[in-house]
Subunit: 267 residues, 2 copies
């Protein structure tokens, strides 16, 4: 078992995984965390399975070299395409965001009809569909890739006429199909929660994978890893593959906190 004071490693294609970082840091403040945003190669959601898996492996390598005791793949697309290979290759627990989100959606649905939105990569992988059916074989799953939500969130257009119109265009069909639960299957989407909620109406429960994932991380830490029992706040380290300045500027909206030190790493 790893040293309890070793950090957790989290990676994402960019800033989106900071929504997962935030939930984990809130729930387990004593844990040290190293976060890697692969900002030079972002986004992953439009790219092929092979390319995403290759990028995810190189991210994992950077974090392994930092001595992490557990790896959280805080990107839905990378969870979809790279979780299996990372679990095979790495000697530490590896957790994605899809299983926790799927599990929570199954717990929430009454009509047994779950909607999933995400990047083209995540939806096309079929991993949410598989994971939901594993927990609820009789559930119906309807999906819709929503590629414009990521640039809208990064542009900061999270309210107003444009995101509302985009949300209606993407979500009207899912609503008409009768879903009662909607998984926000991309770490950027929680920033658009208000317009998404407005588009689907009050009878559809929104499931935020970031929140669900922090619960699973706590479970794994307590059962497969050593949790940090310290009482102080753990260290937070931010690594990026492109310019630190942009990451600080955009990332603070995702983290809901200022980001001061960011280190550039070459991949």
């Amino acid at each position: 078992m790893a040293n309890s004071s070793a950090p957790l490693g989290i990676f994402d294609s960019g800033v989106g995984g900071l929504t997962v970082f935030r939930r984990i840091a809130e729930r387990m403040p004593a844990e040290s965390i190293v976060y890697l945003g692969d900002t030079a190669r972002v986004p992953y959601g439009t790219k092929s399975a092979d390319t995403v898996a290759r990028y995810a492996q190189s991210c994992a390598e950077v974090l392994m070299n930092r001595g992490v005791k557990m790896l959280v793949v805080a990107c839905n697309t990378a969870s979809a395409y790279a979780l299996d290979v990372l679990r095979r290759e790495l000697p530490i627990p590896v957790l994605g965001v899809i299983e926790p989100g799927a599990k929570r959606a199954v717990a929430a649905t009454r009509a047994k009809h779950i909607g999933v939105i995400g990047t083209a990569g995540t939806i096309n992988s079929g991993k949410y569909q598989d994971s939901i059916r594993e927990y609820a074989p009789d559930a119906r799953v309807s999906t819709k890739p929503c590629p414009l939500f990521v640039p809208l969130a990064e542009e900061g257009w999270t309210q107003g006429a444009v995101p509302e119109q985009v949300a209606r265009e993407y979500l009207s069909e899912l609503c008409a199909q009768g879903i009662d639960t909607l998984v926000l299957g991309c770490t950027h989407y929680p920033l658009l929660k208000d317009v998404i909620a407005q588009a689907v109406g009050p009878n559809v429960v929104l499931v935020d994978s970031a929140e669900a994932t922090s619960e699973s991380v706590a479970d794994v830490l307590n059962h497969q890893c050593e949790a940090n029992k310290g009482s102080g706040q753990g260290a937070r380290t931010f690594l990026v593959t492109d310019a630190p300045e942009t990451f600080k500027r955009v990332g603070k909206h995702f983290l809901k906190d200022e980001i001061t030190d960011v280190e550039w790493v070459d991949i």
Copy 2:
């Protein structure tokens, strides 16, 4: 001087440069062309100068190894951040899309007030502003980064309520400032020409860099390089760094023609 039958090399971060490819192929059908779309690392427009320059150098290397006689940087952001270094390093003529677009805008403006839209990288680089002032020192230049236009074009949302609304939000300020000419400073934007034209009104001339660039390529071929004097159609070769299938599917809208053979290259 290079062999006249050697191909032209064109690269872009992805599919956008196919608008430049098309104009060049129309104007100079006998030329063989090797096109490289760096689809695994797309987009460049949101990334830092250093990262874009590094990526552009690796793209140029791939094309040099294919024996190209001239290099066209068919990406505005790469033209902004990497043209100088490529010109210093390469023994062949290197042409970007910014100078041709700037020159044509200067020829078109009557009010001497030119608008430029592009990615955040292109606008922040100040290269269009510099290039326009080189040709017309007394011109006024107003700029606006329009990050959402790229994902809209890639999503195929080029008409209707959403792109119209986005175009109005981005362009109303430029119009109010009194521009009479607008440079489409990103190779994706010609796909949105209709909604952009509608947003700026009939009194603003739109300048398409792709069209302007093909003229400059012809000039350079005739003066610094050897043009291919053959009468048949030159070979067309397409290289990509991510999955060929997506490139074929999305790229045909930019090329306005089917793309059959696409070769994957590892960078």
